[in-house]
């Protein structure tokens, strides 16, 4: 067993884990944060995407013990209390989901895209950047729309403009 300490959604957690424990398993089974999903378990589908030190990674292909000292954000860490994160709100508004299984990973990947590429994203960029996230229901159309709108809504001052 190995001791690991990390910050998950702003809270410090320490646990004694089997070194085999994947980050996805750690957040789901040890912390009961089941919003992070495991789809393919082979680092292809992206349902397990979380942020480690501000970068989107596939938590099914990361050891929990490797994240010692890291700051991890899962889908549960995005919303501000009852108020959805702008990217979550955009997925709801544009119906960027059907069964919803891929949605947590999609949203975590989408926030990462905005962090890297800014608030104005064209369709081509979004489709390319979502390469590592697979949805088997929707055909991506509404997901792309949601990401575009969510990106704009994440811009500083966007909420104020929307409220006017």
């Amino acid at each position: 067993m190995t001791t690991v300490t990390m910050t998950v959604n702003g809270k410090s957690v320490t646990a004694n884990v089997d070194p085999r424990t994947l980050l996805a398993q750690f957040v789901r089974e040890h912390l009961r944060l089941t919003g992070t999903h495991v789809g393919c378990d082979t680092s292809q589908c992206g349902a397990c995407v979380v942020h480690v030190d501000g970068r989107a990674v596939k938590s099914c292909t990361t050891l929990a013990v490797s994240c010692d000292g890291a700051a991890v954000t899962t889908i549960e860490g995005l919303a501000n209390g009852a108020e959805l994160h702008p990217m979550q709100a955009a997925f709801r508004e544009h119906h960027g989901l059907q069964c919803g299984f891929c949605t947590p990973g999609m949203i975590m990947a989408a926030v990462d895209i905005v962090n890297r590429k800014g608030h104005v994203l064209d369709e081509h960029t979004i489709r390319e950047e979502l390469e590592g996230n697979i949805c088997r229901c929707t055909g991506y159309h509404n997901i792309v729309k949601a990401v575009e709108a969510g990106a704009r809504a994440m811009a500083p001052g966007a909420a104020a403009i929307a409220a006017e």
Binding site: D41, R55, V57, D112
Partner: protein
């Protein structure tokens, strides 16, 4: 995944020490190949030595006409590095095409080069640019480093510390990715420096990355895609699998080389 002992190294020296004590141990860099392999039980090291906390292994610097990239530098950092984009834009573009964004945020150049997957991208860049692989023990020229599928010149207990890429006057990487895995079905890195031209091919040969000397010769005479007309790669020894036959890959080698040369000329 089978059980293993987890060891966290703080220095390269310490990692080398741990590795020397256990021939069955594996180094963990970004884990984007090692962990899936362990999950499939294709690898079952008794110990995993994590390089994630080793100081000084990540980073990019320019030394004259050479770009030096630390072994633990992530693909996304190579792709977005101002230094790499300015000095060797083809290398930044290659890094930007590995896997997907989340994989690029974790996978490292040292891990990719040490693994020498026959379909990995970085080995082609190393070979075509004439990179030097710097380990904790010595400096290995790329020409001597890659020794066949998953085989390298690395000795037991030897750890890649950094890789030095001399800039080229013209360079480009053309990749035909497998639509599902994004691994190169065929990837060709072409580099021109003075009158020298090097063409490195990945994804195609069952011996792993190789230099295509016939194309190099033709391109040294004149660096133009037209020089490649009538030059064809042999299907002998090419990978044949459900994604493509040996003949198909051999044909793709020619096509991707022409595309790489065209792109290197800025056309």
């Amino acid at each position: 995944m089978y059980a293993f002992t987890y060891q966290r190294a703080k220095t390269v020296r310490q990692a080398a020490g741990l590795l020397a004590k256990n021939a069955d141990a594996k180094l963990l860099a970004g884990g984007q190949t090692l962990l899936p392999t362990m999950k499939q039980r294709l690898a079952s090291p008794s110990a995993v030595i994590d390089l994630g906390k080793v100081e000084g292994l990540a980073g990019i610097e320019r030394k004259g006409r050479t770009v030096v990239i630390g072994a633990m530098t992530k693909h996304s950092d190579v792709a977005t590095s101002a230094i790499v984009r300015e000095a060797i834009p083809a290398l930044a573009a290659l890094a930007d095409g590995i896997g997907d964004p989340a994989v690029r945020n974790r996978g490292t150049i040292g891990g990719s080069v040490a693994n020498n997957d026959p379909s990995a991208d970085y080995p082609a860049a190393c070979l075509a640019l004439g990179a030097t692989i710097v380990t904790n023990k010595r400096k290995i020229p790329a020409d001597a480093f890659f020794q066949g599928m998953f085989a390298t010149a690395l000795d037991e207990g030897e750890i890649i510390v950094k890789i030095a890429f001399p800039a080229a006057s013209k360079a480009s990487y053309a990749k035909f990715p497998n639509p599902a895995s994004r691994y190169a079905m065929v990837g060709v890195f072409v580099a021109k420096r003075g009158s020298d031209v090097r063409v490195a091919v990945t994804g195609a040969s069952s011996d792993g990355v190789f230099r295509w000397s016939a194309a190099e010769e033709a391109l040294r005479a004149r660096f133009n895609p037209k020089s490649l007309e009538g030059v064809s790669a042999k299907a002998d020894g090419m990978i044949a699998d459900i994604h493509g036959s040996a003949e198909y890959r051999a044909h793709l080698v020619g096509v991707m080389t022409k595309r790489a040369v065209t792109a290197a000329l800025g056309k």
